[in-house]
């Protein structure tokens, strides 16, 4: 029994005193959408590419090339990055809302998406957003500019209604100058009568 206590104490002491084997390092994780991209770590002495989840490279000094890949253990990951990981903001979300012909009303086909978007915004804290309004190629340029502005502002007003501060919303509008689908002039096109929203 006594022996066990001594061993435990030794293990703890060793853990506490062990010099850190890695000081500066980079570790690659999986992308939110799945799969991993890659990172390229470089300094004057060389470069190293990480392309597998959990792979790490040490960059211990500016005058020493990045190390070959090593695997970061779960416990070190938690120990070194636990707080940073816990502080990660929610991922951004993008929505496209379609509109009725020549109006600033949400098209029935988009109502569900629209409701989902507002629910998502209401669930989040400290939201900021970008809203970009568009029109199709029916009607004159000036009219479409105005129409795309009204659409964007309709969405903005609803975001404000669910709690987003108005000065945290960037409103842009582009008339018919940025069609999602190219069409001849005066062709009604639902896919171009839209507001693109990014929620952060």
């Amino acid at each position: 029994m006594k022996y066990r206590v001594v061993v435990l104490a030794l293990v703890l002491a060793a853990g506490a005193c062990a010099p850190r084997s890695h000081n500066n390092y980079v570790v690659l994780l999986n992308n939110p959408g799945g799969g991993s991209g890659k990172v390229i770590v470089s300094n004057q002495k060389g470069r190293h590419v990480l392309n597998q989840c959990g792979g790490a490279t040490s960059i211990s000094a500016a005058g020493k090339a990045p190390s070959s890949t090593w695997q970061l253990g779960r416990s070190t990951l938690q120990q070194d990055f636990g707080r940073a990981l816990a502080a990660r903001p929610q991922r951004f979300a993008r929505y496209t809302i379609y509109f009725d012909y020549d109006k600033a009303n949400v098209d029935p086909s988009s109502e569900e998406t629209y409701r989902k978007m507002l629910d998502e915004v209401a669930r989040r804290k400290a939201v900021d957003a970008t809203v970009a309004g568009h029109a199709d190629r029916t009607g004159g340029e000036d009219h479409n500019q105005k129409l795309s502005e009204m659409r964007a502002k309709k969405i903005r007003d609803d975001l404000v209604r669910v709690g987003v501060p108005i000065d945290h919303i960037e409103v842009d509008f582009f008339g018919d100058t940025e069609p999602a689908v190219p069409t001849p002039e005066n062709m009604p096109e639902l896919r171009n009568r839209r507001v693109e929203v990014m929620i952060r």
């Binding site: 991993s36 991209g37 770590v41 470069r47 020493k64 707080r83 903001p89 951004f92 400290a126």
Partner: protein, 172 residues
């Protein structure tokens, strides 16, 4: 005479306002403990909902953390005792003005790329005192021990085949 002075002071006022009215490049989404920003030489607290701007240095204290989402959706989260300079940032896809360079002088950082990682990944980099991290649409972590100096700018990790890759990319 008074009119001239008035106009002159108005011009100065507008200049100052124009400088202050720089667009936010991101917003604070999470914060625990002591979180601050160094902006134009003075340090002020940073809290959830606050905007961050180009040239801001964000800092966390002991047992503190901070999460920021940039305009393009890039998520940055910092652990304790971290210092990060948001050196250069541009997200204007319509003008093809895209790029992000940040300097991590110490601490721990999680990086999850956003639209910049899709549109112009080669224009995104995180600089540390001992190396530069470039990326291709990526989620990574980086740790930097305190008390290290950055090498002089021209030498900062710009070697090999990626030498001189621009901090900001203009396409056309």
């Amino acid at each position: 005479m008074h009119k001239v002075l008035l106009i002159a002071s108005l011009i100065i006022l507008f200049d100052v306002q124009a400088a202050l009215a720089a667009d936010p490049i991101g917003y604070v989404k999470t914060a625990t403990g002591v979180t601050t920003v160094i902006r134009a030489g003075s340090t002020t607290p940073l809290k959830v909902g606050d905007a961050v701007f180009e040239d801001d240095t964000v800092k966390t204290g002991l047992e503190s953390s901070l999460g920021v989402t940039m305009k393009d959706g890039t998520a940055l989260s910092a652990g304790p005792e971290t210092e990060l300079l948001l050196d250069e940032y541009a997200y204007a896809p319509r003008k093809n003005d895209l790029g992000f360079t940040a300097r991590l002088s110490q601490g721990t950082l999680e990086f999850v790329s956003g639209m910049l990682g899709k549109l112009a990944p080669e224009s995104v980099s995180i600089e540390t005192p001992t190396g530069v991290i470039g990326m291709r649409g990526t989620h990574f972590l980086v740790r930097v021990d305190p008390g290290q100096k950055f090498p002089d700018r021209p030498a900062a990790g710009r070697t090999g085949s990626k030498a001189g890759s621009p901090a900001r990319t203009t396409y056309r």
